[in-house]
């Protein structure tokens, strides 16, 4: 099952694709959503929120060999992990600000792994039992702000609305093999980034085992597993679409300062 969280007519709803779940709604269109209260609404009529209430947001740097090479990094002994705050999160079809004067702001299409069961010292062999599901993440960075202290610093990676999640949380049971999913990013419909989760340096079971060896992972915690090569600069007005096999297409638009009163 695919789950979304949307705002519609004054409330927040869980929604599923109407075409999948609504035998009773024969007239449902391709893009319609079935709300939990039974209403079928057009996707364009809702505001998409991140598809689950996120707890701790954990992100991986340089977890694809090609991207690590792109940024001139050497092989790692330990995953490069950083944390993000809830203010960075944004839903599907949201708008992300690019500050005036920066030279290099780029998207990062990533597979996000959402924890469903508390994990404390989970074994690799057991790790995927702790996963509720998967979604697409687009985790922007502004490289102009990179400094060499506690990298990547929050001004680069923890900006308001610069971590986009969605559109759907897809149940783990519906993702046959999270270790062989293709990722693609399109900027204004041009393919700019491609990769496959089979090329993760540290795979999902390893990451859950590793993280839960020192921190308890709770339901709602999410691991953004890193991005492959192919990150390019984006400008106000650009439409960035991230796709992952079976998880949908996550769309975001870049906006300039003036839209944010700056």
């Amino acid at each position: 099952m695919m789950h979304a969280r949307v705002a519609y007519e004054g409330a927040i709803h869980e929604a599923t694709p109407a075409g999948h779940a609504s035998a009773g709604h024969a007239s449902a269109g391709h893009d319609d959503l079935l709300l939990a209260d039974g209403r079928v609404v057009a996707a364009a009529a809702v505001v998409w929120l991140p598809p689950f209430e996120a707890g701790t947001v954990i992100a991986l740097g340089l977890n694809y060999a090609d991207h690590a090479k792109e940024l001139a990094f050497n092989a790692q002994e330990e995953p490069l992990v950083f944390l993000k705050g809830p203010g960075s999160l944004l839903g599907h079809r949201g708008v992300t600000r690019r500050p005036a004067g920066v030279k290099f702001m780029h998207y990062e299409c990533e597979l996000a792994v959402v924890i469903g069961r508390t994990a404390r010292r989970a074994a690799r062999s057991d790790a995927l039992r702790h996963v509720a599901g998967y979604c697409i993440a687009n985790d922007y960075a502004i490289r102009d702000y990179l400094e060499n202290w506690y990298r990547p610093n929050l001004r680069v990676k923890n900006r308001d609305g610069a971590t986009v999640l969605g559109p759907w949380l897809v149940d783990a049971a519906d993702v046959a093999d999270p270790a062989s999913l293709s990722l693609r990013t399109f900027v204004n419909d041009q393919l700019t980034q491609q990769g496959n989760t089979r090329d993760l340096i540290f795979d999902i079971p390893f990451l859950i085992e590793y993280l839960s060896s020192f921190m308890t992972l709770a339901p709602g915690d999410v691991i953004l597993t890193g991005t492959p090569e192919g990150v390019i600069n984006v400008m106000p007005g650009d439409v960035v679409a991230c796709e992952i096999d079976g998880l949908g297409r996550l769309i975001n638009t870049i906006a300039a300062d003036d839209e944010f009163g700056r």
């Binding site: 701790t56 702000y145 060499n148 202290w149 929050l154 923890n158 308001d160 020192f214 921190m215 709770a218």
Partner: protein
């Protein structure tokens, strides 16, 4: 604090001082902490002193109450504890002006930023700072109306009753209002978020069997025992 997070129940989980569970802190924000690095700030891998605030996040699994035991992981002899004044946000704070920044603070807390000691600040592993229980905070939120000047508070750390560190918030590189202005320039803070102002160096080291108590004038004290992981 969010339910079901494996967090401890903390007595200040009441409006208007309910914590959101999001805790940020500034590093190298006390003059003594930056001075301790000396000329190294200009050498690789840093190459320059920090420009923007150096920030970290204490995730919800780290949050702990006054009195709860901090467990020292196997293979680690001692932990480093940064004694910090921290602000509890009372109003949504986005791009606030320094002159008005303290209007957004509901109150203040003592925060113990517990770490496994590490010498390199370039890209340290989060396993040094994000372990379960590594962020005791308390004892309660002291309303800002009871804190005349957050930039003139003495922070004292006592190890088993003996004074081991005394520092003042007057020596912060970015005092409370300046830090809030610089942080909210790019990330919005919401009511209940916590922002720690940074610890002095050298931070006290604590071994299993010891108790560290941090006192801040007017805020009371935060006391936690340290134990072996298996205890």
């Amino acid at each position: 604090m969010r339910a079901g997070a494996g967090c401890f129940s903390i007595p200040f989980d009441v409006p208007p001082y309910r914590l959101s569970g999001t805790v940020y802190g500034a590093l190298l924000n006390h003059r003594s902490a930056l001075a301790a690095l000396g000329e190294a700030v200009n050498q690789p891998p840093y190459n320059a002193p920090p420009k923007a605030p150096v920030l970290y996040i204490k995730p919800r699994n780290t949050l702990a109450a006054c009195g709860s035991a901090v467990r020292i992981p196997a293979g680690t002899a001692e932990l480093e504890v940064g004694a910090c004044l921290s602000m509890v946000i009372g109003r949504t704070a986005c791009k606030v002006a320094e002159a008005r920044a303290l209007d957004y603070v509901a109150g203040y807390l003592i925060l113990a930023d517990v770490s496994i000691p590490h010498a390199n600040f370039h890209r340290p592993s989060i396993r040094f700072k994000a372990r379960d229980g590594f962020c005791p905070l308390g004892p309660a939120v002291t309303p800002s109306s009871a804190v005349a000047n957050p930039d003139a508070l003495t922070i004292r750390s006592y190890l088993d009753g003996a004074l081991v560190q005394s520092a003042s918030t007057a020596d912060l590189i970015r005092p409370a209002a300046r830090l809030l202005a610089d942080v909210t320039e790019f990330m919005t803070l919401v009511p209940g978020d916590v922002l720690a102002l940074g610890a002095a160096a050298p931070a006290p080291r604590v071994r299993a069997g010891q108790v560290l108590r941090i006192e801040i004038e007017g805020l009371g004290s935060l006391s936690n025992p340290y134990t072996d992981a298996e205890a």
